[in-house]
């Protein structure tokens, strides 16, 4: 039987929704028992949230003052220790999981399965390669521990209403001091989180300046949407890096995505192809984004966007 340990992502107070998606992914393995590991300085609040996820049997709380920030070099040896009795270790394919899980895999002596998008069996997984332009199905050897990151855009959040037991786990391993947290600058916008938003309005290089990007924010606010951007817009300095959508940015799966002044490089398209409805507004009718768009409109974004905002009423 598969015994799966999921490494929870959190900020010390709140469980990240990515963890609920990992539970849904894990539950695709028939008959699996699912536990969640919470590594924190004080894990009670996050453990309580994890224990409420439907389908979770047990929450392991691994407390240590060194766990106050998610440093991979500090967390990985504790996770590897906790992984002892498990057949699978899962974490989200967010910047947190991409940092920590491969380090865990190496300590356990296995390669990791990156970005699981579908589960076809306890040891058979599908994942995107070449920026999602090909899908690879692989078999992990049956006798090997499975360490995997879960492509969160491919799974719904697990329901809550569960009541898993909460246990402390003492990893009892020496932790390094060679890696020290200095600071984190988080953009607090008051807008929905890009990764989990049901609507996203994204702008590209055609916006031309940070100031012009205001019309994107304004339309997003009208729709209650998160704001995203292409790599070109981030590189040009119009918006901060955490708004980047694509192969090397965030992979999103909103109900509605509106791409404005974005040509649709394959690296960007891989980040939005799971969107339910893709709307593209671009002055170049030949832009590749129109190949994937459900609704396309050719024209000047500086005319269309304010008009659209007005038409949506208030």
């Amino acid at each position: 039987m598969s015994r799966i340990l999921i490494v929870a992502e959190h900020d010390g107070a709140t469980l990240n929704a990515s963890t609920l998606k990992c539970v849904t992914c894990a539950a695709k393995i028939p008959g699996a028992s699912i536990d969640v590991a919470v590594l924190a300085a004080n894990g009670a609040a996050v453990a309580a949230q994890a224990s409420a996820i439907a389908g979770v049997s047990k929450v392991l709380v691994i407390e240590n003052p060194a766990n106050v920030e998610p440093l991979a070099a500090v967390l990985a040896p504790q996770i590897a220790k906790a992984a002892g009795g498990y057949t699978h270790v899962f974490g989200p394919s967010t910047t947190f999981g991409k940092d920590v899980l491969p380090r865990v895999a190496a300590l356990l002596g296995v390669s990791q399965v990156s970005d699981v998008m579908a589960v076809e069996g306890p040891h058979r997984f599908k994942r995107p390669i070449y920026a999602g332009n090909a899908l690879l199905t692989i078999d992990v050897p049956a006798d090997a521990k499975v360490v995997a990151t879960v492509r969160v855009a491919s799974f719904e959040s697990a329901a809550t209403g569960g009541s898993a037991s909460v246990e402390k786990f003492d990893a009892g391993v020496a932790l390094p001091s060679h890696t020290r947290f200095v600071s984190r600058t988080a953009a607090t916008t008051g807008r929905p989180d890009l990764q989990s938003a049901s609507r996203v309005v994204a702008g590209g290089r055609a916006l031309g300046s940070a100031d012009n990007f205001k019309i994107i924010y304004s339309l997003a606010d009208k729709l209650g949407a998160a704001v995203g951007a292409s790599r070109a817009a981030v590189d040009a300095g119009y918006v901060p890096n955490d708004l980047q959508v694509g192969q090397t940015g965030k992979i999103i799966a909103p109900e509605l995505y509106i791409g404005i002044g974005i040509s649709g490089a394959i690296q960007h398209m891989t980040g939005i192809k799971d969107a339910r409805t893709i709307v593209a507004i671009n002055k170049d009718g030949e832009a590749p984004i129109f190949e994937a768009a459900d609704i396309g409109m050719v024209g000047d974004l500086f005319t269309i966007v304010p008009e659209l905002e007005k038409a949506l009423g208030g």
Binding site: A72, A73, F96, A134, T185, I295
Partner: protein, 249 residues
């Protein structure tokens, strides 16, 4: 010798629109332009800049792959790497084996810094840097967009989902680099000529002492499902109408 080791992977050029083989066994790489993984190019550029600041003496480019990988290592030498090592194999090498090979090279070459791309654009695995750091039992910083080296330490800024994170790490360490760290230089013709004379050692997996082995068995490779053809609207009224029809506004 203050040495920086840089990983250089040979991949299908990022401008190529890849095609899956009809028998679902892989993607077509015959007759396709191959290049240095773009993230590795950024890693190499950073190593060269650190050396140019007088903070390193040698930049060593390493790769694992078939004999043709020498082309990418020659490009790395033309960019400014001092020497190169190719661990030559035609076998598929899984991420854990890659990390073990790099670890063996780290043990013999003793770099104070290993710079790698945050992921290769073919497999999109993003595992080598954290795995090497784990095997080496040294610090890691993945997705770096700023690197400052001083006094046996590195101060690095990482791109994370929440924004930017700054870490201080002791050297030696493994860093993986993100797109905005720098813009790689262009190779000039005289440098291509000079690169032909720079040392490029070829080793086998047996020389390194790591048994080959893909981590996983490929069941199939398939193209992604295509989206249904959409509609074009001619004005904002039609656009709003189409959104309403889908229940989106």
């Amino acid at each position: 010798m203050r040495r920086i080791m840089v990983g250089v992977k040979r991949v299908v050029d990022y401008n190529v629109r890849i095609r899956v083989k009809p028998d679902n066994s892989g993607v077509i790489t015959e007759g396709v332009k191959m290049s240095i993984n773009p993230f590795d190019e950024i890693a190499l550029e950073e190593a060269l800049r650190i050396k140019e600041k007088g903070l390193a003496d040698e930049v060593l480019a390493v790769s694992i792959g078939p004999v043709d990988t020498q082309q990418q290592l020659r490009t790395a030498l033309a960019m400014g790497a001092d020497r190169a090592i190719l661990v030559q194999t035609d076998a598929a090498v899984g991420p854990y084996s890659v990390a073990r090979i790099f670890h063996k090279l780290v043990e013999s070459e003793q770099p104070f810094l290993v710079l790698l791309g945050k992921q290769a654009i073919d497999d999109d695995n993003g595992q080598t840097a954290p795995m090497l750091a784990a095997l080496w039992d040294r610090p890691q910083a993945v997705s770096c967009s700023k690197v400052e080296i001083a006094d046996g330490k590195a101060r690095v800024t990482r791109e994370v989902d929440a924004g930017l994170e700054t870490l201080e790490i002791d050297l030696p360490a493994v860093l993986s680099v993100d797109l905005r760290l720098n813009e790689p230089r262009y190779v000039k013709l005289p440098d291509i000529m000079k690169a032909k004379k720079k040392p490029l050692d070829v080793k086998s997996l047996a020389d390194i002492g790591v048994a080959e082995g893909a981590a996983f068995t490929t069941v199939r490779i398939e193209p992604p499902p295509t989206r249904q053809k959409g509609i074009m609207v001619k004005d904002v009224a039609e656009l709003v109408g189409a959104l309403q029809k889908r229940g989106l506004v």
